[in-house]
Every structure is written in C-alpha cells, then in structure tokens.
C-alpha cells in the first residue's frame, strides 16, 4: 500500500511517499491513520487531528470510515489552498 503526504503533513512526516504492508486489523481510513501515527513523532503530529485532514483513496476524496485495501494509494493532506 502506498501512502502519500502533502504540504505541512509531508513536512511533519518527513516523507512525501512511503510503502507499507497493510496490517490485517486495519479496515478503514480512521484505523489506518491510527496505525500510521505509531510510525514516528512526525507521523503522530501530522495525523493527530483528523478533523483538519483530507483523505483520498486512489485519487478520489474519501471519508474516515471509507475502507482501504492492500493495493490502494492513500493520500493525506490539509484542506486545499490553490487557485
């Protein structure tokens, strides 16, 4: 599973992209975020408040209760500020 981070979340985690093995017990985005928080202090800081985080599964917006599967590309990012 590929995880992407953008903007200040990328700066917190220290990586823009990482490959992980999806643990069996992780079924939703919320559970995935919980799991990722354990990877480093930076991950913990980035994913602490999921209310301010947007998520995409395979490049489409998803919700905290959206399910994830092993081959997915999951992106975490702050609310967008382009334009």
């Amino acid at each position: 599973m590929r995880i992407l981070y953008f903007a200040w979340m990328r700066e917190h985690t220290g990586c823009s992209s990482e490959e992980i093995q999806l643990p069996e017990e992780v079924e939703t985005i919320a559970e995935l975020a919980e799991y990722l928080r354990g990877r480093s202090a930076g991950h913990e800081a980035a994913l602490r408040n999921m209310k301010t985080v947007r998520v995409a599964v395979n490049r489409r917006y998803a919700q905290l209760d959206s399910t994830v599967s092993a081959g997915d590309e999951i992106a975490f990012f702050p609310p967008v500020t382009g334009g």
Binding site: F6, V80, T81, G82
Partner: protein, 149 residues
C-alpha cells in the same frame, strides 16, 4: 468542444489562450486569472510556492469541468494552474469559458473557480522575509460553494 486542463510550472500566454477559446466559435468568452498579490498588499511577501497531487489534480479539475458542462451550454473550457515558486504579480491560475450566452460563460467560469479553490489538491506556501508558512484554507471559499447547490 475546446477543452484542456494543464498543470505546469510555465507561465501561460493569455492572448493565445483567448484565441483558442474563440475557436469555439461563440459569442462570449469569460476569463478568470488569479495573480500572486504584489508587495503593496503584503510587504513581507517574497514568493509563493505551489505544490499539488499529480494525477488527482487533473482528475478533480476534469470532474469539475464535466459538472460545469452539465449545468451550462459551454463550448470551450480551459484551465491552467501553475505550480512551483512564483513571485509577486506572477500568474497562478487561468480559467476560460466560452459560450453562446454571456451568463453561461460568466457562471461556468465562476463555478469552476469556486470548486477548484476547495476541491483541487493544491497547497500554497508563503515565503516572507521572516520565514515560510503554509496558507490556511478560508471558510469563505467553502461558503462560496453553497450558491451552486
């Protein structure tokens, strides 16, 4: 149908964009252009750096354009968004819409901008003389969507 989505670090040429939209052969063209504000507006601003999510950005903008085409009789739409480091007064974004009806051209361009502002995965980092910080999303941008519901 003239249609394009372009994410690029290069500047756009408004004259050639306009000529392309005119090739839709219709009566009304509306262009929105977003510009990095000048130093008079924010004296400490040195530059603005734009990051995006390649692949998702294009998908989101294309989906917004499809929705605009469902709502208005547009015959041409072009969206260009720059990424990378931009200086004050540089162009950031171009949205052009062509239609036989001027109101359709105005509304579709405004609609695309409102959705682009809140859905397209771009992030701005402001560089000032004191340091750099990520720009916060604005509630007024979320509010702007309500009028299209």
């Amino acid at each position: 149908m003239v249609e394009a989505v372009l994410i690029t670090d290069a500047d756009f040429d408004i004259a050639s964009e306009y000529e392309t939209l005119k090739q839709a052969g219709v009566g009304a063209v509306v262009i929105f252009s977003g510009v990095v504000r000048d130093n008079a507006d924010n004296p400490r601003l040195v530059a603005m750096t734009l990051e995006h999510y390649p692949g998702m950005t294009e998908m989101e903008i294309s989906a917004i354009i499809e929705e605009a085409k469902r709502r208005w009789p547009v015959s041409g739409v072009r969206v260009i968004h720059r990424v990378g480091r931009l200086l004050p007064e540089e162009n950031i974004v171009f949205v052009g819409s062509a239609s036989a009806h001027r109101q359709a051209a105005f509304e579709s361009a405004a609609f695309i901008m409102d959705y682009l502002k809140t859905k397209a995965p771009f992030w701005k980092k402001e560089e000032t003389e004191e340091g750099a910080n990520w720009v916060d999303a604005r509630e007024t941008d979320e509010d702007a969507l309500k009028r299209w519901e």
